[in-house]
């Protein structure tokens, strides 16, 4: 579902990605770990079609993300670090608006169901977003991605700033999405959250994928140790 093949991306003298190759099959949640500037967001932005790689190719559900961006985007649900919604609109109105932009027209009942499925309380769905916490906005963000019925989900630091309960809810939501057959790529530097949520992990350092492993064979402590080792070398 997600294929990144030998991608290199430079910003002037800085090499953000160096010959990166990774694959996320259907039903898998892949966690990209790395410090700031490791290339996590660059990878996501290339898959989103917001950046063009200097060399290499990236595919989303078999569609080239650089040359056929619009079609590739139709297959992607994207959740940024900070989901900034329209503060004067309610949760439902925000979801409705973003769905309509994506060409999806849902009834208010269906919109409400999607929001509730993403963990938002029914009472909150009709409140203006300026009363929402970050976690609640994040849930609306997930609902926007989910309503798109995407095959691939890209998340850039989705748990940043969330309280533990909201983070746990986010993890279970992502698992639910992957169980439906979607491929999820999540960039983060939260080792614990990545270990809890993902099936596979890749550690990025200086734009290179230095380590890949299954989460089933590693505990959080071991993962933390490995991560720090790689960061220090």
């Amino acid at each position: 579902m997600i294929n990144v093949k030998n991608i290199t991306k430079r910003f002037k003298d800085f090499e953000a990605l160096s010959n990166l190759t990774l694959e996320v099959p259907k039903g898998e949640i892949y966690g990209l770990l790395g410090s700031n500037g490791a290339g996590k967001s660059t990878t996501i932005n290339i898959l989103l079609g917001f950046l063009e790689p200097d060399s290499g190719e990236s595919f989303v559900n078999g569609i080239n993300a650089s040359t056929d961006t619009n079609n590739a985007r139709k297959n992607i649900g994207y959740i940024p670090e900070n989901v900034n919604l329209y503060p004067y609109l309610t949760g439902i109105e925000n979801l409705d608006y973003f769905c309509k932009l994506a060409g999806k027209n849902y009834s208010p009942k269906k919109l409400s169901e999607i929001l509730i499925e993403c963990g938002l309380d029914f009472s909150a769905t009709n409140k203006q977003v300026n009363t929402y916490s970050k976690g609640m906005r994040q849930k609306v963000g997930i609902a926007i991605a989910l309503a798109k019925e995407a095959k691939v989900y890209l998340l850039d630091e989705p748990a940043s700033g969330l309280d533990p309960l909201a983070s746990t809810e986010l993890s279970s939501m992502l698992k639910k999405i992957s169980n439906r057959g979607a491929a999820v790529l999540m960039a983060s530097h939260d080792i614990f959250r990545v270990r809890e949520t993902c099936n596979r992990i890749g550690i990025l350092k200086g734009g290179e994928l230095v380590k890949e492993m299954d989460t089933s064979i590693v505990s959080t402590e071991e993962l933390e140790k490995i991560y720090i080792e790689y960061m220090q070398t």
Partner: protein
């Protein structure tokens, strides 16, 4: 596109500050239009009553010599347009009344102040002040962050990601802000239409006024959104568009206006009067002075009536001389004032060219013109007033010459029956159809600006800057 526009409006309506400002705007606009209409109606009544009074004085003149009546003169009233309440243009400077009399041509037009193309319009609270300055400024404040705030909040990525193209998003936001301008404009124009006395000609003009302002608001909305999308942050976008607005409304009109006056200079009042006087006495081309002309005329009439002296003439030669002098004066007038009028027209045309750089200049010119209060309409009035003056004086001189008196009999009088038979000055303002040709440049430049700003949105947005 409709989804984005509706969403923008929904957000606008939910923002209390904007709702309060909008209500304030609506109240201001309606009250200014209402006050303008009331003031107009009062002025019109005063003018009509003055016109009646002047005519009644003329009709009831005591028996007097026609030449004395020529000096008594009359007045030409320029009808006050109901659209004055929208934009009074230069009428405040040029005035609406001219004194018409023998030997003397109307002078009010020759004041420097009559070239109001470069004058400040901040003096009076008219709808035009709100429509030309305040509403665009408010549109700027609404639009400057329309894209940059989406960019700064990161929401733009999410929007684009839903499948909306940059152009569609930016253009829809421009259109929604433009609609807001149109909303305020519609209220103003509707108030004007319902409160004022409207006939078909006024309706045509109102429709064109609406379209002109609509074009200008489109330019403002698109350009501000363009800055918002093109520049990196809100501050840069706001300072750039405000700088543009200040250049358009304050600096360029003055700089261009001064340049126009330098390029097509008018003679000073003193020089103008001195040259006229000289031409009047010595002849237009420096030959044929008054005495020579009078002598030739006398010989012509003596020959025509086959008599030896003026006393033998069956007509009053004094009337003939006065009319001849008047016609000679008209030639002098046509030469000098014609030249001045040509300068005014050239100045106007050159000023209109500033529309290439400044759509505000085109809008202002159209607004004044469509309200019937610009130089084009004023010159029309002056030309017709002068035509009437010539008719009036000719009637009086002809009566003096052929009415039954003899040369030298200055005590001969005519009674009110004659005065009543002289037609009054009934000026009909030109229809916009007759004058629209004078505003083609303004229309063309406004439309070009619309086209250019749309192209800017379509082709000159750097996606990398946006994301």
């Amino acid at each position: 596109m409709l989804t984005i526009i509706l969403n923008e409006w929904k957000i606008l309506v939910r923002n209390r500050a904007i709702v309060y400002i909008t209500i304030l705007f609506i109240l201001s606009l309606v009250s200014v239009v209402w006050m303008g209409v009331v003031q107009n109606i009062n002025q019109k009544e005063i003018q009509q009553s003055a016109q009646k009074h002047i005519r009644s004085q003329w009709d009831n003149l005591k028996p007097m010599n026609p030449h004395r009546a020529a000096h008594y003169g009359s007045y030409a009233f320029k009808p006050i347009s109901i659209l004055n309440s929208l934009d009074d243009g230069i009428s405040a400077i040029t005035g609406n009344v001219l004194k018409l009399e023998g030997h003397v041509q109307n002078e009010i037009v020759y004041s420097e102040a009559s070239q109001a193309i470069s004058l400040s319009k901040f003096g009076k609270l008219k709808s035009s002040l709100l429509l030309q300055y305040m509403i665009p400024l408010f549109l700027i404040f609404l639009a400057y962050s329309s894209i940059s705030s989406e960019k700064e909040s990161g929401r733009l990525k999410l929007l684009v990601f839903q499948g909306v193209s940059f152009f569609k998003l930016i253009f829809s936001k421009s259109i929604s802000i433009w609609f807001y301008g149109l909303f305020l404009l519609t209220i103003t124009i509707s108030a004007q239409t319902f409160l004022g006395v409207v006939n078909q000609e006024v309706l045509y003009r109102i429709a064109l006024i609406f379209l002109s302002y609509a074009c200008y608001y489109y330019v403002i909305a698109c350009l501000t959104t363009y800055f918002s999308a093109y520049l990196k942050d809100n501050t840069s976008a706001l300072s750039s568009i405000l700088a543009t607005w200040i250049i358009w409304t304050i600096f360029l009109p003055r700089i261009w206006g001064n340049s126009v006056e330098k390029f097509y200079p008018l003679p000073s009042r003193q020089d103008f009067k001195a040259t006229m006087k000289e031409d009047r006495s010595k002849g237009i081309d420096g030959h044929n002075p008054t005495d020579e002309r009078r002598e030739k005329l006398k010989n012509r009439y003596l020959k025509e009536y086959n008599v030896d002296s003026l006393k033998q003439l069956p007509i009053n030669f004094d009337g003939i001389v006065m009319q001849e002098d008047e016609e000679y004066g008209n030639l002098v007038w046509d030469k000098h004032f014609g030249s001045n009028y040509a300068i005014y027209k050239s100045q106007k045309k050159l000023y209109q060219l500033s529309g290439i750089l400044n759509p505000f200049a085109s809008l202002q010119s159209l607004s004044m013109g469509l309200c019937g209060n610009d130089m084009v309409h004023h010159l029309d009035f002056l030309e017709k007033a002068e035509k009437y003056r010539r008719y009036l004086i000719k009637e009086l001189n002809d009566k003096h010459a052929f009415g039954g008196s003899k040369t030298g009999n200055w005590k001969w009088t005519v009674d009110e029956t004659f005065f009543k038979s002289v037609e009054g000055f009934n000026y009909r303002s030109p229809s916009i159809y007759e004058k629209i040709v004078h505003y083609i440049r303004d229309i063309f430049f406004l439309m070009t600006w619309m086209f250019v700003t749309t192209l800017l949105l379509r082709f000159n947005i750097n996606k990398n800057n946006l994301l």
